[in-house]
Every structure is written in structure tokens, then in C-alpha cells.
Amino acid sequence: MTTASAGPIAGLQTAELNFAGAVHSALDAALAADPKVILLGEDIADPAGGVFKTTKGFSTKYGAHRVRSTPIAEQSILGAAVGAALGGYRPVAEIMFFDFITVCLDQLVNHAAKFRYMSGGRTPVPLVVRTAVGSKRFGAQHAQQLEAWLMHTPGLCVVMPSTPFDAKGLLSSAIFGEDPVVFIEHINLLYGAKEPVPVDDYRIPLGTAAVRLPGDDVTIVTYGAQVPVAVRAAEQLADEGIEAEVIDLRSLVPLDMDTVLTSVGKTKRAVVTHGATMFCGPGAEIASQITERLFGMLAAPVARLGARYAPIPFSADLEVYPTVDDIVGAVRGLCG
């Protein structure tokens, strides 16, 4: 239940799509627009069409040479993507679950992220790694948000949208951009609410945050599946007379700190919340930058929320992600 995404919709023909549908639409448009776009990943070709069905129909429509199911071998999926990018293609590799990125980090971190730099700009590697995260029902090896690791690797862009509209616009930018991008799809969002999404190609540049709700009393900085949680918290706070501004970062690298600092400069208070583990999470960097830049203006220390420090537990009765109540409580602590 988010507010309408920032961005121009007027004049474009739209369809009602959920997040998964928007990802499908972005890939469809990219495959149609550019024969150099290819897809690699486990089970992505028909009839499976991907375990999340985000590539359904593509191998039939565009050919199994461009939409390639691979062995269960993430190093070679990522390595092939790096090589194909060096060879002039725009590969989109699917790593089924974020946790599986651990078995191909070498290709991602040592090669995709560094080839442009280590060659002095001679060998850029434009590629996208799509990966899903967030469901507890698979247990701790299919659930951990590892974006802080990737933010810590110079050369990688890290994107985690929260709405269908953003998902398509950001994925399109990632595919046709010139840098390696890790594009994170939260499972709780994939089959969530539908919203109007332009049918044709459109782009949202990486590194532009969106203000989901305006407010003057406190800034809640977040991204991904915590955005709807933060919006619900803000709605609850509004009933108490606290107007929270909710900022959806949309991409973590590049990072739109200008929007964050402008907002906190106005509200003087900030809470950062995310689904990644709080300890050494993205919020640590964001809170630190806010504090360094706005220390004298802050009415309270920046508050941080994130997943509790534990592998993601299986039982639905064990909650580790920040809840609406956690965010509301943190805001009250700042505004008290």
C-alpha cells in the first residue's frame, strides 16, 4: 500500500501490473528493443519460465539462444555474463535467491565490479544480476539481504525497488546502462498490489530517491520491502499528529543523499530502516553521513532499524525484520 511512484505517467499507455509483472514487462521490452540483450539463469526458459515466472514465455518468443536456462552453476552463469558483456552483449543473469550470490561472488566482485577500473576504462562490463530475497519459508539460506556487502564493493550498482512502476523503470535503466547492476527483487513485493505501469519502455535513472509521503516532523529513510512498512508507520504516526516524510532510496549505489539531507535538514530527525541486518547494514552508512553533514541541526541522534542480528529464522513466530510498531516506536523516541 504505497503512494503513487514519482515519475511521469501522463501520456503513456499503462497496464495494471504487480512487481513481478513489471519486471516481466521490462525484460520483454528490453529483449524486443535490442538483440544484444540476453538472459541467463537456472530454469528461466520455458516451460518453467523462471521459478518466479518473471521470464515466462521469453524463450518461446525470443528464442532459446537468447533466453538460456543454465546448469545449476552460478559461477559460470556470472562468468558467462561477464564474458558476454565483454563480447558486446547486455546480459541479464538471474541468481535465483540472493543467498546464492555467495557462490559467484568472485565473478561479481573480482571481475564484473573491477574490470572497467583495472583496464583503465577499456573493458566495461554492462550487465544486470537479478536476484530475489525475502521469504522466510525457505529458511536461513534463502532469505538474507546481503546488499551491504555489495555496496561495499566499488564498481557495483545496487538497486532495490519497492513498486511495480519503479521496478520496470529502474530495471530498464540497469539493462541499458553501462555498469554492472545488482537488481534485488523482494519476494513479498513480487506478487503484491498492482499499479499502472507504462506498457512501453521508460527509464528511471539510478540514484534518484523518491519521496513516498511528505512530512515535516521526521524523515524515515528506507528502500525495498520496508517502504510499505514505513508508509504504514507514517500513516499511524499521522493519527498521533506526527508528520513523517518517507524516502524510498530505490538504489543504494548510486546513493541519493541529497534528497535525504534536504529532508532531514527540514525535519531535523531521521530513522533509517531496512531488511538487511542492522549491524554494519546500509543504515550505518546513511546515518553516519546524515550525522556528519547535519550534526548541528539534528534534534536527536539518527535512529537505525534493521533485521535483528541472526540468520533469518524459519518459524513465522520469530520476527526479525523491523515492523510498523518498531518504526513508530523509533519515531516516538526521536520526537518525544
Binding site: T70, G79, S119, G120
Partner: protein
């Protein structure tokens, strides 16, 4: 199928033989000079010597065309020279200077020159193989008759990336030539101590891939095997694995201890050193005259002198290079 074991007496064209000899001599001289520079403290670099591999490198370079792609390792000097990369640019990169291939930001382990078809080199053992698979996929999708060669040491056949890449290349019948530059040592561990089956070429059958073992000190025999393999690959018969058995004639690195190498093995190998033997063989066979060999020696020595003089005079990179080439656009850097 050329890989039927039929003895061949084919020879490269005369100009190609001379070029191979020149490459061998150039690489040997560069290698010795770089090692001396490192030991003298004038080159602040981890440089991995190639002595012993020169014949294999020259044979591969002779068979690959300009538009063919090559992926190499950290022990890449011979491959880079053989593929036609500018000697000045290579040596300047070894010194970390602005006129180096990567403006000094890559170093000896990271030589990239897409214009010459040297698409990547990597300091991570075995990681070049999946990247070559991706380049092979690009060549196949292009419908080009381009061949992708990837070189790696025997030590790389122990790592998972090797297995994944061999499997995927064979599955997709990609135009990839796997060239194992077997120098019998994985860093400081001899092959018998890390491989239960040291017949590396024999493993290719497990991936349904054609393979051959060649004597890497027999430069012409190696060239014939490479030539056969490349012809097969260009004809669309899928990837080939070549084990070129040599011996490492120096330490693992420029400064590494080498006293543990059995003296009789080293002496036996040194007697077959292509940098010593190839010229006399060419003369004895009446293929290149002694006087012509002497001319080539002079050309190689002059080119090496020129490259080192050029590199030493090249300016260091300025601080502006630190953030350049991290991304396509310096503005994407999230923190400075």
C-alpha cells in the same frame, strides 16, 4: 576430426615462424628484465614470470587472428605479447604509469586490451574460464567464426570455476579453446601432491570435450595441435581442451624461493627451454638462417629496450584517476 592422432609435418608459413621466434625472444628478454627490475626495487610489482611458457604462448599467438579473443591469467606476459599488445603499453603498466594499458590502475596481473583481442586477464586462479565461456557465447550468438582461447595453469584445474566452465562450454558447444599451460606446479605444490589424476587432458572426456596432451616445449608440435584445434572449433565442432606440458623455469613469482624444485627436473627442463632451443632448431631444419635469427634477436632486444625506456619515462597517474573508471560516470561514486 583432426584429433585422430595422425602425425603431421605441417609448418607455419616462414613469416609466421620468424614471428614466433621473435615473440619467444621478446617475452624471454622482457621477463628477465622485469624480474631484475622488481629485485632491484625499481618496479614495485608482483610480477609472475613466464619462463618456460614462451613456446606455448608464441604458438597460440601465431594461430589466433587479430579478431579472435584471448583470456589469460596473472602469468600473462607471453600471452599479451603473442596476441599483439603494444610492448610499451604492457611495460608501462608493469611500472604503474599513465601510459600503461590501464593508466597504471591494473598492474601486471591485469592487462586488458580489447583492440588486440586480449579481453581479460585475471589474478584469480581459474576465473578466466567462465569468462571465456561468455565470450564464446557472444561469438556464437554473433554467428562469427571467432575463436576464444583461454589460458590457465595446471593449478587452475582444481578449482570449481574450471569445472563449471568446461561443462557449460561443452553443453553449448561454444567456440572456446582451453589451453592449459601446465608448468607442473600450483604455486609451490607439485602436481603429484594436489591431483590424484595428473593426466589433465584425460579429464576433458568427462565433459564430452575433445582434448589432447602436447609437449609444450615442442613449439612446432604445440602449434600443430593448436592449429588443428582452432580449425575444429571454427568448423563448429565445439570446444577443445589442450594440455601443453612444460615446466616452470623460475620461481612462482619474481622473488619467490625456488630451491625446493628438484635439481634434476629443472636441469632437464632447462635443456629443452624453447627460448634456447627453438632458434637452433629453426636453423638446423633450414627454416630460418642463423643470420636472420641474429637480426631478429637484435630487433627483439631493441624493442624491449625501447619499451622499458618508454615506460620509465612515462608519468605516474594523477590523483584524478582514483575515482575515474570506477563507474561509467564519476558522479555515480557514492562517497569521496
Amino acid at each position: 576430426m583432426a584429433f585422430d592422432g595422425t602425425p603431421s609435418d605441417r609448418l607455419p608459413a616462414a613469416a609466421e615462424l620468424e614471428r614466433m621466434y621473435e615473440v619467444i625472444q621478446t617475452v624471454m628478454l622482457c621477463d628477465e628484465r622485469a624480474k631484475a627490475e622488481v629485485r632491484a626495487g625499481r618496479m614495485q610489482a608482483a610480477f609472475y614470470p613466464v619462463r618456460g611458457l614462451e613456446g606455448v604462448c608464441a604458438a597460440l599467438g601465431a594461430e589466433l587472428g587479430h579478431s579472435d579473443h584471448l583470456v589469460s591469467t596473472y602469468r600473462n606476459l607471453g600471452d599479451a605479447v603473442a596476441k599483439g599488445v603494444s610492448l610499451r603499453s604492457i611495460i608501462a603498466e608493469l611500472y604503474g604509469r599513465m601510459d600503461g594499458l590501464a593508466k597504471g590502475k591494473g598492474g601486471p596481473m591485469h592487462l586488458h586490451d580489447p583492440e588486440a583481442g586480449l579481453m581479460a586477464t585475471t589474478g584469480i586462479v581459474g576465473s578466466g574460464l567462465p569468462i571465456a565461456v561468455g565470450l564464446g557465447l557472444a561469438a556464437q550468438l554473433d554467428g562469427a567464426d571467432r575463436v576464444v582461447a583461454v589460458t590457465f595453469g595446471d593449478g587452475a584445474t582444481s578449482i570449481g570455476a574450471y569445472h563449471e566452465a568446461m561443462n557449460l562450454a561443452s553443453l553449448w558447444r561454444l567456440p572456446v579453446l582451453f589451453v592449459c599451460q601446465n608448468n607442473m606446479w600450483a604455486e609451490h605444490t607439485p602436481i603429484a601432491e594436489y591431483a590424484p589424476n595428473p593426466e589433465l587432458a584425460g579429464r576433458a572426456g568427462g565433459y564430452a570435450m575433445a582434448a589432447r596432451l602436447v609437449d609444450g616445449f615442442d613449439t612446432i608440435g604445440t602449434w600443430r595441435a593448436i592449429s588443428d584445434a582452432v580449425a575444429d572449433i571454427r568448423a563448429g565442432r565445439g570446444p577443445v581442451f589442450l594440455e601443453c606440458r612444460t615446466y616452470r623455469l623460475t620461481g612462482h613469482s619474481s622473488t619467490a624461493d625456488y630451491t625446493y624444485v628438484p635439481e634434476e627436473e629443472l636441469e632437464a627442463a632447462a635443456r629443452r627451454d624453447p627460448a634456447v632451443c627453438f632458434g637452433p632448431w629453426l636453423a638446423a631444419e633450414g627454416l630460418v638462417s642463423l643470420s636472420r635469427l641474429a637480426e631478429i634477436d637484435d630487433v627483439a632486444a631493441a624493442a624491449v629496450d625501447d619499451a622499458f625506456t618508454f615506460a620509465q619515462a612515462s608519468p605516474p597517474p594523477t590523483d584524478a584517476e582514483v575515482y575515474r573508471d570506477v563507474f561509467s560516470d564519476e558522479q555515480l561514486v557514492p562517497c569521496r
